[in-house]
């Protein structure tokens, strides 16, 4: 068995929203052999700034290289290494779940427990929108799988550092 010290890390990046900036960031990961589990990106309230959240795996040395390499990119303004700070993270999923006569009520009950919304209804399917941290999303996915998930689309994580109390 290969023992690794690999862990999952969440990294936040504030970057100038210029053409190619995401390609530079993502290219850095693939070119240097770092792993990307999820990536989200969108403009912030400040015009011209994009916030990108990447979940990666690796050991501590890899993480520290990633953070330094990201900082080296000319368009990257700030990198947040969330392994060192408290942060909140959320992910959204759209889940199309089988909803036949006998399971419709059960799906709604589960949706209710997880505060998921029904965003599309058809004779055989409900599509749920659910937001939460990773644990919550895995939990609902696990439950719904027993009923039957047809399709799923997850956004990947968005994260922000907690403000100081």
């Amino acid at each position: 068995m290969i023992v690794t010290n690999d862990r999952r890390y969440t990294i936040g990046i504030l970057a100038q929203n210029v053409p190619g900036v995401l390609a530079r960031i993502v290219g850095l990961f693939s070119g240097r052999g770092y792993n990307i589990e999820t990536v989200t990106a969108a403009e912030t309230n400040e015009k011209g700034l994009t916030r990108i959240t990447i979940v990666t795996t690796g050991d501590e040395r890899v993480l520290s290289q990633i953070v330094k390499q990201l900082n080296k990119l000319v368009n990257v303004i700030k990198v947040f290494d969330f392994s060192e700070t408290e942060f909140v993270d959320r992910e959204m999923a759209l889940i199309k779940v089988r909803a036949e006569q006998e399971s419709r009520a059960e799906v709604l009950r589960i949706a209710d427990i997880f505060r998921a919304k029904v965003v599309d209804v058809s004779p055989h399917f409900y599509t749920l929108e659910v937001t939460g941290n990773e644990g919550k999303l895995s939990a609902i996915v696990e439950l719904l799988e027993q009923i039957g998930i047809a399709e799923i689309a997850r956004t990947g994580k968005a994260a922000l550092a907690r403000s100081k109390k």
């Binding site: 100038q16 053409p19 190619g20 390609a23 290289q65 390499q69 080296k72 000319v74 368009n75 303004i77």
Partner: protein, 574 residues
């Protein structure tokens, strides 16, 4: 008054003090060529765009200024890629201007369209596609700024044809606005103090200098520090010349500097590798612990606390674990070290260092750099020693890649910075000749010599035409062993002497070839001719090819077999 994009291009170059552009035209950049006259900027027309990139690189390494090249879109741009990657690996300040198809056609697979930004993203410091002529001046300003500051590197600027034809007001920005780019120049004084305390207590310290010493112009400070703290010095291939390999004795003779260990690593000297492996403190400055230096990483410098100064934080603790990381400009850090030790000299230096220097002297005596001299065959090492003897301290040496490069690093005594230009990181065959042309353009009166292999010289030999047409009197010494010698040596030692693919007999007659280009060709076939050929070649004020038919199967020693520790050197022919 509004100017055309192509005119703005030249106004910007003038503002940056550019005196020469290495280039090759094509449809996408003809607007620039159309505007070229009357700007007092020299254009060196190359014969292959790879040559242009290496020339800009050689110009930059020799002078410290930003090298500039200009090529057309598509194949013109892709031909520069090896040159860009070479410059990137060795932190060379360079701006590459590539033509691009007009903006409305981008993405349509237009004629001679290529996504050069995408292709070069991993091997440029930064790159720009200019979509609006109003951005042109700002982009060029930023490109030059990025290329030369911090850890220098190549910056690529892609110029669509319609942008070069459009008009805008020309205003050169006074300052750059790059919120994400703030290289740390000032080394942290607390870290410096920590490092100094380590050094003060060291019994067997080694200073390991890299290319950063040359780039930051701090060889003088490095030399002063080494003398002040009495630490022996080893420099990586790119750091050679950062510390004088030899010093002038009172009788005016050159002798090895007592602090100089030679280069470390795969083809390093015995004493350099042994000293690193037995050091208790290593002060690494502007070096990045390349695998060719460290050998097997888990056994590298097992006893040493490592202090690492580098302007690029990603270089620190990338390959080896570092005890005292110091981010900053080498010169700034060295000045702080000097200040510390000038105030607080290390006491009893002579006694504490004596055993260490005795040990080093024993290593040096046990296994000095050497080779079997011959009266029948020209030994390549002998040619290098002769060049060293005849060229003079001021000469600029470039190399290609292979055995001849390693013999140059071993047997030529580099005493001054910027006198060795060689592709270290990428190891690019075909680099040395165009780089020599670039260096000669920067220093028309210096002796510039490309020490080449018979294989490598054929990779950019077309630039002989560039040298001849522009009266650039570079000297090329071909160490002609009829082999791709370095791969052949590996095949001999590690692949059962299976020489598949490494025999390159059948090369053209280099003397006739030189003459065909309008250059001078000379040849030496016997050891006693070497001196005369070199003297004659160096005295001619024109490009000269000197073909030295050397012992074909000579090997570079020492050699650390791949994957082995640097103490596991093969020292001589088995």
């Amino acid at each position: 008054m509004k100017l055309k994009g192509a005119q703005i291009f030249f106004e910007c170059l003038k503002k940056e003090g550019v005196e020469v552009v290495f280039g090759f035209p094509g449809g996408a950049v003809l607007d620039i060529y159309h505007e070229m006259a009357g700007h007092n900027i020299r254009h060196i027309l190359v014969r292959h765009e790879q040559g242009a990139a290496h020339m800009a690189d050689g110009y930059a390494r020799a002078s410290g200024r930003v090298g500039v090249c200009l090529v057309t879109s598509g194949p013109g741009a892709t031909n520069t890629v090896t040159g860009v990657a070479t410059a990137y690996m060795d932190s060379v300040p360079m701006v590459v201007f590539t033509g691009q198809v007009p903006t409305p056609l981008i993405g349509d697979d237009a004629f001679q369209e290529v996504d050069i930004i995408g292709i070069t993203r991993p091997c440029t410091k930064h790159s720009y596609l200019v979509r609006d002529v109003n951005d042109l001046a700002t982009v060029i300003k930023e490109a030059f700024y990025l290329a030369r500051t911090g850890r220098p590197g190549p910056v690529l600027v892609d110029l669509p044809k319609d942008v070069l034809q459009a008009h805008a007001d020309f205003k050169y920005p006074k300052k750059v606005d790059l919120p994400g780019y703030r290289p740390t120049l000032e080394a942290h004084s607390g870290q410096i103090r920590k490092a100094c305390q380590l050094i003060a207590k060291a019994k067997s310290p080694v200073i390991f200098g890299g290319g950063g010493i040359i780039i930051s112009e701090s060889s003088e400070e490095l030399t002063r520090l080494a003398r002040l703290i009495q630490a022996p010095v080893t420099c990586s291939l790119l750091g050679l010349g950062g510390f004088p390999a030899s010093m002038l004795s009172e009788e005016g003779r050159r002798r090895p500097d007592p602090l100089w260990l030679g280069m470390p690593g795969m083809h390093g000297t015995y004493q350099a590798n042994m000293a690193l492996s037995h050091a208790d403190v290593i002060l690494a400055i502007g070096a990045r612990f390349d695998d060719r230096v460290t050998g097997k990483i888990s056994t590298f410098a097992p006893k040493a606390r490592i202090i690492h100064v580098d302007i690029d934080p990603t270089s620190i603790s990338k390959n080896v674990e570092v005890d005292v990381p110091i981010v900053g400009d080498c010169k700034n850090a060295l000045l702080q070290f000097l200040e510390f030790f000038e105030k607080e000299p290390i006491e009893g230096l002579a006694e504490t260092r004596a055993p260490w220097f005795d040990q080093i002297a024993r290593w040096a005596k046990e296994h000095p750099l050497t080779y079997c001299a011959s009266e029948e065959l020209i030994k390549p090492q002998y040619v290098i020693e002769k060049i060293d003897e005849l060229a003079g301290e001021d000469a600029i040496i470039t190399t290609e890649v292979g055995q001849h490069q390693m013999w140059t690093a071993q047997f030529y005594k580099f005493n001054r910075p910027r006198t060795l230009l060689t592709s270290g990181g990428l190891g690019t065959m075909g680099y040395g000749f165009p780089a020599a042309i670039g260096a000669q353009v920067a220093f028309p009166d210096k002796l510039v010599i490309d020490i080449a292999g018979d294989g490598s010289i054929q990779m950019n030999i077309q630039e002989l035409c560039t040298a001849v047409c522009n009266n650039i009197p570079v000297k090329v010494v071909i160490i002609n062993n009829t082999y791709l010698g370095l791969p052949r040596q590996w095949q001999e030692l590690f692949y059962d002497k299976n020489y598949t693919g490494s025999c390159i007999e059948g090369a053209p007659d280099f003397v006739k070839l030189a003459e065909a280009y309008g250059a001078v060709g000379l040849r030496a076939e016997r050891p006693e001719q070497v001196d005369a050929v070199l003297r004659k070649g160096f005295s001619i004020k024109a490009p000269v090819f000197m073909d030295f038919l050397v012992a074909a199967e000579e090997n570079v020693y020492p050699i650390v077999p791949p994957g082995k520790s640097i103490t596991d050197m093969l020292l001589t022919q088995l």
